[in-house]
Amino acid sequence: MKLIGKFLITGGFLILGACDGGSRDRGRSGPAAAADAYQQSLAPAQQALARHPRHPRLLQVLGAIHHRRGKFREALECYRQARREDPEAAEPLFSLAEVHLQLGENAEAMEAYRQALPLLPANEKGRALFGLGQACFNAGQFGEAASHLRAALGAGAGGAEVHYQLGKALDAHSRGLKSIPGHEKESEQAALEGIQALEAAVAQSPAHAQAHFLLGGMYQRRNQMVRARQELETFRRVKPPSEALKEEETARAEVTFLARSLVQIAGALIDLGDHGEALALAREAVRADGSFVEARVLEGRALLKLERFDEAQQAYQQALDRDRDQAESLWNIGKIHLRRNRVQEAAPLLLKAVEIRKTFAEGWELLVELSQEHSLFADRAEEFATKALGLRPSPKNYSNLAMVCFSQGNAEKSRQVLLEGLKRYPHEPELEEGLRALQQTLKR
């Protein structure tokens, strides 16, 4: 149980719980329907900042509150301050860029994206390059926009939208070049590449109405009228209908925004150790929007930090009642069961949580421990250990996989794993000891 205890006191409980606001059910409209969520969000954000001055995440939340209300200058100031407080964080730069884009300040947006680039890991650079492409397009620099968007694709930013934006930039670039004598060939190349990009967009997302629309226009300009008609007909078919704005939608948007803001502030306060205040805000979010799953999750997280386990379990259970796949709730209820030695109750919850969040290394590691110490999921022990090692190739995980293989009678594979581990971590005592023990056992 030592291992389980360690998970309880580290971030292991919470690591699944990044709030993205995406998990919520819709349809209910709270009594605060027509209220102004801006003012209601502003006060707690400012109070939290008073308690934790210049905290970058809180500044980021405050910026988002201003931003959403169209107070761009105030938002810029918050994001700039967040940037100053945490120069290594890319998020404030993305927020700055977004505001500049909306203000039509394309040069400033480009600069922010450029500054974000070196702060991002390789697999996320595409996001900044995509932003750069959009800023260049808005500035009328269509060729440069296309270059950045190509680079975004190269950096792994896939998706129909990137292909579409590239197609759009190339179409504009091609049309711009066409009017310049001597650039006809270049214009034609850009048009052809633009069509390819748009075709890629609709291949990935057949209902991408804008891509079909633009393709229709491009084919029309090239006098390919049959293709043009086909694309325009598809555009007409897949184009989403324009629907009336419903009063409950506008009210709902306010309630959602308020709850989301409160949850974001609460999340930052938990990270700051201000658990009591975080709990109060999470509960306020629950009151504002009882259907907002993330509010229940934050409530559970704050209660867990306050070691109020029964209440935490209750809050997480309420989140699960609305979203049975809410991974953090599954995980932490499972952990609470473990804490109470209710391993049988815990195991299926933990397994489900990890199967939902497949990249949660600690999760696979815990499942390995459960399989070894409690003989649970014995037939999947090797799978768990392999996944844990794949996500986190630590000496411990090499050792675990070797142990599982050995216990399943596969001594050779066990040896291979240990050798591989030692290649990565030469002279690592745990692995050397494991290899010695294995060789002695094999000799006997």
Binding site: D36, Y38, R69, G70, K168, A209, L232, S242, L245, A251
Partner: protein, 573 residues
């Protein structure tokens, strides 16, 4: 002074309208763009618009009122101004009325709406002007939420509303309207765009982020539009279904123009719809129309989204002999600059032409392709203003009153924004709607009159230098279409040709100066004017003087070139 000259009459044997023209590009030493001064007060234009908003109830119609017309109703050579007005739900004992300001010839105006019997107290939206009975004076059609008016000019300074007798007293929420000869029978037919069907009794606000405002148009069903055929006997018959204009998804119609947009010799219609796809109805010249908005590239914005389209300018801005369109749109949507490619297809060049920057926060309405500096290239002028008084509360980028935008045509397919150099009258934010262009002071350059929603009208007097040449062309057509509505005019001077079309309404629910204006740059004379008349006949006149009002009459070999009427007093310009 009047010059009368005989010249040879050419019936053109080839489509000269499509002949390529040399491109004149100004060097960097362009003269400054004209400044504009709001001279409304000085000139006695005291019109104050009432949108109908009472501060509590939010009727969508209040957001879209505001057309006006420039016409010379008394044929004295001086433009007069007609303003439409709104109306509150409870208008009180003295409801706001439409107003007619007569140009008195001394540079000032006097309100004569009641005396002329055009001071309609209904809630009016737009208007179109044309001589519908061929008697030589302009008549006026006014769209209302309530019965529309057809004011026949009696020729004695008064009008008579003959809408009911003529069968055009439509009662839907009508907006844009145009006279045009759809079937080539020589008389003027009438297209009337309708906006929405609003049968509400209460008008609660729509709260967006806690701020009250108007419900979006998409919350109201679109109203069917109307096409009315002139029977030639003073009556019009509704042919909406027969003509094909109803074979479309309903659109919330606003600005409307008619012109031969695909160059086939037949008048077409373009309708700016609010939050629904815009229409391009191609006419067959026999009264039948086919909607081609999607395939022509003019139905949507650059990304295939329905736009909140308002106003339209339809002229040739790039000098290729094809009519282009500028369509003004709602906030967060770029205005469209639909350049005709000559293959029944337009491409939106707003970004490429340089008019996109800074456009997104604006709600744009009145618009004109007008040569404001007389350099021979049509510039672009746009009137802006939001419809929600609380717009700034939910988006700092925008505001209820907004500045106007002026773009100088660089002659190479691109525009340069020159608003900042146009003076305070252009830069001062207003809640503008309709704008109409014309030479109010007969000094050879174009002035502008702006209807501001819920505010004072502006008369933007063009204070530009008089270095460049110009001409105004008055067309007199044969038959009942005496104003030659739909005629296409090509003016060749100084080595290049420019084109203009005669509209009965344009911009946002408005009518411009009935005289076609052309800037001539440094050209001292006009080499040739060619006219394609609405009945398809083509005529050309050679060697005409610059800086004159030139009157061309269909089938007459002579032209008349006269100076613009001089002011009765020596003061001013």
């Amino acid at each position: 002074m009047t010059i009368k000259k005989k010249t040879s009459l050419h019936f053109l044997s080839m489509p000269l309208f499509l002949a390529s023209a040399p491109v004149l590009i100004w060097a960097d030493d362009r003269p400054p763009f004209p400044e504009f001064v709001d001279a409304a007060q000085e000139l006695g234009v005291t019109f104050v618009h009432d949108s109908g908003f009472d501060g509590k109830r939010y009727r969508v119609v209040e957001t879209v009122t505001g057309g006006l017309a420039l016409l010379d109703f008394d044929s004295d050579g001086w433009l007069d101004l007609y303003f439409t007005n709104g109306r509150k739900i409870e208008p009180g004992a003295q409801p706001p009325r439409n107003a007619l300001f007569r140009g008195q010839g001394d540079g000032t105006f006097k309100e004569v709406g009641a005396a002329a019997k055009v001071d309609d107290p209904e809630l009016s939206l737009g208007c179109a002007v044309a001589d519908i009975d061929g008697d030589g004076d302009p008549d006026l059609y006014v769209t209302n939420w309530g019965p529309n008016r057809l004011y026949r000019n009696n020729g004695d300074g008064t009008f008579t509303d003959i809408a009911a007798a003529a069968g055009v007293a439509l009662t839907s929420m009508d907006s844009g309207c145009v006279f045009f000869d759809m079937d080539g029978d020589g008389d003027l037919d009438l297209y009337v765009a309708s906006y929405v069907i609003d049968e509400q009794r209460e008008y609660p606000p729509c709260y967006v982020r806690g701020i009250p405002g108007y419900w979006p148009p998409r919350n109201y069903p679109a109203a069917p539009h109307h096409l009315l055929e002139n029977q030639g006997n003073g009556r019009f018959a509704e042919v909406s279904a027969l003509s094909g204009i109803r074979n479309v998804d309903p659109g919330r119609g606003l600005g409307t123009v008619s012109a031969d947009l695909n160059g086939d010799g037949h008048p077409d219609l373009y309708v700016a719809n609010d939050t629904t796809a815009n229409y391009l109805f191609l006419g067959d010249g026999k009264g039948k129309f086919t909607e081609t908005g999607l395939v022509s590239g003019t139905a949507y914005g650059e990304e295939g989204a329905e736009m909140g389209s308002m106003g339209i300018a339809a002229q040739d801005y790039d000098g290729d002999g094809r009519l282009d369109l500028c369509v003004t749109n709602y906030q967060n949507q770029l205005n469209n600059l639909f350049r005709a490619t000559g293959r029944d297809f337009f491409e939106d060049n707003a970004r490429l032409a340089g008019i996109a920057e800074g456009n997104l926060p604006e709600v744009a309405w009145g618009v004109g392709f007008v040569d404001l500096d007389n350099d021979g290239w049509r510039d672009l002028f746009i009137a802006n203003g939001h419809l929600n008084p609380g717009a700034h509360e939910i988006d700092q980028r925008t505001s209820y009153p907004q500045r106007k935008r002026a773009f100088r045509n660089l002659g190479n397919g691109r525009f340069e924004e020159v608003s900042r150099s146009c003076g305070a009258a252009v830069e001062t934010p207003r809640v503008s709607r309709g704008i109409a262009f014309g030479d109010l002071d007969n000094d050879g350059d174009l002035d502008a009159v702006v209807l501001n929603s819920g505010g004072k009208a502006e008369v933007l007097r063009n204070e530009g230098g008089k270095d460049n040449g110009w001409c105004f062309i008055r067309l007199i057509g044969a038959g009942l279409n005496r104003d030659a509505i739909g005629a296409l005019v090509a003016v060749t001077a100084g080595g290049r040709t420019q084109w203009g079309v005669r509209h009965s309404a344009e911009s946002y629910l408005s009518a411009n100066d009935p005289r076609l204006h052309f800037g001539l740059g440094q050209a001292r004379k006009i080499d040739q004017i060619e006219v394609r008349w609405p009945d398809g006949k083509r005529e050309a006149w050679k060697d005409l003087p610059a800086r004159r009002l030139i009157t061309l009459t269909e089938g007459k070999r002579d032209f008349e070139a006269s100076e613009l009427p001089a002011r009765k007093t020596a003061a001013g310009n």
